[in-house]
Amino acid sequence: MTTQDSLKSTFNATYTAEADAIFRFCLVRVSDREQALDLVQETFTRLWKTLSSGKEMSNSRAFLFTVAHRLIIDWYRKKKSLSLESMSNDESGESYDQADEATMYTGLEMGSEGRFLLEKIRELNPSYRQAVYLRFVEGLSPPEIGDILGISANAASVRINRGIRELRKLTGYDV
């Protein structure tokens, strides 16, 4: 098997395993199926570019979520035509979603329990939302979540725990 074949095999296996999770992650945040598919396409295109450039990749799952997360932030910034000034003050991407993702988790076809949980996650403090979603729904570990959100594993753990406490109050679940 040539290197190219090996790369293709890795890419196809990753696509089969992670495409739905990445699609879901995009869809619940942009609430637009076509746009979510575009984001999935771009995310996996970046994966292929990285693989084919010969770079080492220890955790392709975390890589995909990281890319998708940044693409979504970029998409919101461009969609809302934020001023360059506000963008320059927001290099971390932390404050983008408070207003921009006002329509998050709406318009999706799913059961009432799932919809209820997504709505409550949306009501969380913005800095907890993604950490809680990635931990609960996608089952990622705190270090992986830290990589995706650009924070340390400890900071990710803190956000997850605080988010869970807040979610418990909002849902009444014994989380």
């Binding site: 699609f23 059961g111 949980l117 996608e138």
Partner: protein
């Protein structure tokens, strides 16, 4: 995936909720469409031998365009202004085409449109012919105004200035043709303009006769006088197409015009082109002349 453990124990409702959220997936069609695209992407290679990942169209194409426009706003504004001018200017140019001296758009026609068009006509024969066509256009304007009874000294003076300008440019271009190409070709260009002026003399002759015979008010008399004056000048130019139009001309009577024409036809070089006995013009003929 999330697993229940001692620290994060979940109860039934939240398990169901998570399962419902995880049930959100791509359809099999969507998955296969993307798989096909990726299959092409991972198979094709570009000229450099690296995978052709960039062949997939970015989902941000539109936003990137907007973003670039936003960052480079001076160029964007300039482009928008040029576009608006092109769109708006096109309709103004169209409206100005049929304007006459005294109309608001006439200045646009003779001050902007014609010089711009002329700038693309080179310096030789094409330019000479373009200037000759402008001389003809000015004479046509005189004819239209005169047939409508709207010609007066003021408009005539404006047209004479323009005629001088066109004639000077014509002479210059024709001179270049004579120097750089051949005197025969230059002579042919001059003959073309002369024939055109002769044609206008015929028309002006008819208009002048009609205007002088029906002139009752001071305005219509001024119109007839101005038309007659221009006809006399046009006749003079059939002898020398490059002479000035604004030089003083002998006073031309508004009556006895046919005799005047007859007396001068021997000298214009194209007597057969001038109608010796112009017919009288009724209202219907005037309308047709307007079309000319």
């Amino acid at each position: 995936m999330y697993k229940m453990n001692e620290k994060h124990r979940v109860n039934k409702p939240i398990e169901r909720a998570i399962e419902e959220i995880r049930a959100t997936r791509m359809t099999s069609d969507e998955r296969e469409i993307l798989r096909d695209k990726f299959a092409r992407m991972t198979t094709e290679k570009n000229a450099a031998g690296t995978p052709a990942a960039s062949k997939l169209e970015s989902p941000y194409k539109f936003y990137r365009l907007w973003d670039n426009a936003e960052r480079n706003w001076p160029a964007t504004i300039s482009a928008v202004i040029i576009l608006l001018l092109a769109l708006g200017g096109g309709s103004v140019a169209l409206a100005a085409q049929g304007s006459l001296p005294g109309d608001k758009l006439y200045a646009v026609k003779v001050g902007i449109i014609e010089p711009v068009v002329g700038a693309f006509r080179g310096t030789g024969e094409t330019l000479a012919m373009w200037q000759a066509s402008l001389v003809s256009a000015r004479l046509s304007e005189v004819e239209t105004l005169a047939s409508e009874g709207r010609l007066n000294d003021e408009k005539l003076a404006k047209i004479e200035v323009l005629l001088d300008k066109h004639t000077a440019a014509f002479s210059e271009a024709r001179g270049r043709v004579e120097r750089n190409e051949s005197s025969e070709k230059a002579k042919g260009i001059g003959e073309g303009l002369k024939a055109s002026i002769v044609g206008h003399v015929n028309i002006l002759n008819q208009i002048t006769v009609a205007a002088s015979t029906t002139a009752t008010s001071s305005r219509s008399r001024e119109n007839a006088q101005a038309a007659s004056l221009m006809k006399a000048k046009a006749e003079a130019h059939t002898k020398d197409v490059e002479s000035s139009w604004s030089l003083p001309s002998p006073v031309v009577p508004t009556s006895g015009v046919p005799e005047l024409i007859k007396n001068n036809t021997d000298n214009i070089g194209a007597p057969d082109l001038i109608d010796q006995n112009p017919p009288t013009i009724d209202k219907k003929d005037k309308k047709e002349l307007k079309v000319l």
